[in-house]
Subunit: 271 residues, 4 copies
């Protein structure tokens, strides 16, 4: 049945009509989903990949996922490929443990457990970005807290926590290669929006693909601005109250759809 | 009558014929203008939007307006859309209180009161840019005064003031969402050319679209250069007298039309 | 006769054959040149304008000139236009005092006296760039001396001098608007390759268009690298002896023609 | 015989037929190779040149070489030309002393001895990049050690050594213009992956073209991130153990082929 669902995804992506009689009732025990994810979700996920690359948040590494809108125990994520090159056909489905439902023999991201663990821990999260967003890296290794310097990054609230993989795991290759490490990372994130990873990168979460892309991009912008400001003198950050009020405005769908349309316009048509 | 004027704008912009019977006689008392704004003004305003985006002063947010050349109680500003995507058909007209004359059902910028308030307070101002110009943000949050480091930004004079929204308004969402906040901002601007907004962005004003675009761009350039210089040592700024003399040259129409032509050449044809 | 020479330039530029009989003997007293400048010189000067813009040394302002290869008392410089937009038809000829031989009614650069004064003072100089090259500005206003951080900028020798217009001229508009100010600037340059102008920009000179473009670009690169290095710790610069030895290699025609071909390849065909 | 091999390369690259009678039997004693290098190696080397330029590691200067897969005493390197312009026909073969087997009358890089010396000293090295990679320069002149700030640059291990040409050679033109200087540089590199050159640039080595390109690019990225972080506070670098573990993952063929495909996609077809 999981093969069936994937077939539906593929079919929808390729705009091929799948005859109704192929929708057989052999549902898998784990995930008795009635239908494939919304094709719009897959399209947005492809745009998210391209936009994050175009905006300099990801290079050849980093990935963005979305929770399946039909089955909350699953999420969508590209096969192992640079985000700038992702097409609809590259989107695979993963179960709650981070394993591909049907990998179709394609290599998958080593760090897919980042996504799996956070979707398990945070039912409110619908989309996740992991990146090595360059301006953010220095904040993960110096103890300087990333805080909202202006209203556009008010979602940073009282500041982003830093995940130290050495605590608990000791000397590692720095990567989130299993669910145990994923759980530890999710714990550092807590109920926040962004968590930095010392010597590695960061993770942003959101209640939609649009929101998480917005947050990932403005996290990078905030890091750039904060680093510049720190050299001029002590920074007058948004207070937590100002951040909460600004966030209600700047992080809303009304606000984030404007840049989304701009970013999309730079990408053009996708496959 | 105002509806009639808007209809003319729409007709000119979109080359759509508006049937004569829509030209009803219900003119508002406030603004009995006889004719529509100069089409050249609207064209320049569209170029201003695109140029400010191309030059990195605005991203998906920020806006530029122009006072109506036929009715000084009105100003032109795009509907709520990223500046890079603005076309002639997106330009709406607003009254002196920042309300659209005829919104045509389209969303408008939340912070249009920045423009309304300054046009009310400063009859000499014909065009306004509000942006989150990145290099300028750090100066708004650190107390370091933005001052003219070279002749090209001599319009900064003795330095740009900073608007602190907390004074008077306390904890807010940081945005200028009504006329009262707009008036407070206009008061901070005083008779200057640029005012920074703590934790938010900045505003530049000018006596023409060309001049305000020039000022917004060179405010950003000055911020970048000043931040760099501050790391090398104490800066020998233009004295107020040098700034006044340089400004008479570099901020003149003869001088600012040269970059305008270059910036326009990068945009190409507009709709 | 000056009109005749310009006509020849125009004719050569446009690849129009000028009949021999138009070469009449009415030579002007001041400059009895027998023939027009080499068309290759004009072509290279147009490329120099475009390259300096493409490489970020000039924006809408700044200019590059070349001494006339046929008449050392004259130099070639564009009319007042952004360097990125210069075509062969924009190149005018100027006399040793910085006045256009035949302006053809076109606006000329206010600061052409920079070129005139240096050509008068330095017979070895064949080409000059004046720019507001951004990374260089901070060195002109902080007292930090611009020195060669690596072999590519060895032409900076023991460091670039800074021209302080206040010395001698007091409070000005910062610009070199006459020959007296030009002479003062030339005196600051001395027998060097680059001089910075406090609160304004810089000037590079060379024995060919290729060399001066090379020097202007690597002056900007050196400034960027030196500012970065200064933040990491005290800099181990090239010694004057190392600089002299490296300069003999990196500033030679064999070395500078390689980047010139690359930079030209980015510009494509010119008019 | 070596002439024959070169003729084959030329024929393969330029698809030009070389008449059989030019295949004379005067083979040098040193290198009786039976066949030409793999055409894929030459294609990858051309891509490496273009990628390093596109990614900002090299400008008009800098070069990348590969050890001949058929004859380990030889290496492939372009004639003297900007890397962005290299085509297959520009690739020449050099002997173990850095001399062209058959220069075909074309100018060669002055610093080809960097490559020759390292190939002699390090049998494990199959590809070498020399560049003036901008963010790396400051680390070569300030004593600040370039160390791995995140997993992607774990190949930097305990930090990159710096080659000081003054030690042993005194005052020079800073360049590696003979084998003696090349040997000294190779000695500074030791068994490492990257060596900086004071006042000049850096060298990266790898066991394949893909790996050395990956290392050269992430050396530049690490330098940028480390310089930024240094301004925020003391940096918590990867420990040598973390670096070793991360390197085993991020520097593997599985990992480096992902960015290679992305970087290639930006170049398009090559000649």
């Amino acid at each position: 049945m999981s093969k069936f669902r994937l077939a539906v995804i593929v079919a929808l992506c390729a705009a091929v009509v799948v005859p109704a009689f192929t929708r057989t009732p052999q549902a898998p025990a784990s995930s008795p989903a009635a239908s494939a994810p919304d094709p719009k979700l897959i399209e947005d996920l492809v745009y998210a990949n391209r936009i994050l690359s175009d905006q300099g948040v990801v290079d050849a590494f980093g990935h963005v996922s979305a929770r399946d809108d039909k089955d909350p125990n699953r999420f969508l994520l590209a096969r192992s490929v640079a985000p700038a090159l992702v097409t609809k056909a590259d989107i695979l489905e993963f179960d709650r443990n981070g394993e591909p439902i049907d990998g179709r023999g394609r290599a998958v991201y080593l760090e897919r457990f980042i996504h799996a663990a956070i979707y398990r821990a945070r039912p409110d999260v619908k989309a996740i970005v992991h990146s090595h967003s360059p301006a953010v890296i220095p904040f993960g290794v110096t103890g300087t807290i990333l805080r909202p310097i202006y209203h556009m990054s008010a979602f940073l609230g009282a500041g982003a926590p830093v995940f130290e993989i050495r605590n608990g795991a000791g000397m590692t290759n720095m990567m989130i290669t299993d669910n145990k490490l994923g759980d530890a990372l999710a714990k550092s994130l807590g109920d926040g929006t962004v968590v930095l990873m010392r010597g590695h990168g960061s993770v942003a979460v959101g209640d939609s693909i649009l929101q998480v892309v917005h947050r990932a991009i403005y996290t990078e912008v905030n890091a750039r601005l904060q680093a510049e400001a720190a050299r001029l003198g002590p920074i007058n950050f948004l207070t937590p109250e100002e951040a909460a009020k600004a966030d209600a405005q700047t992080d809303s769908m009304a606000s984030i759809s404007r840049p989304w349309e701009l970013w999309k316009s730079r990408i053009g048509k996708i496959d």
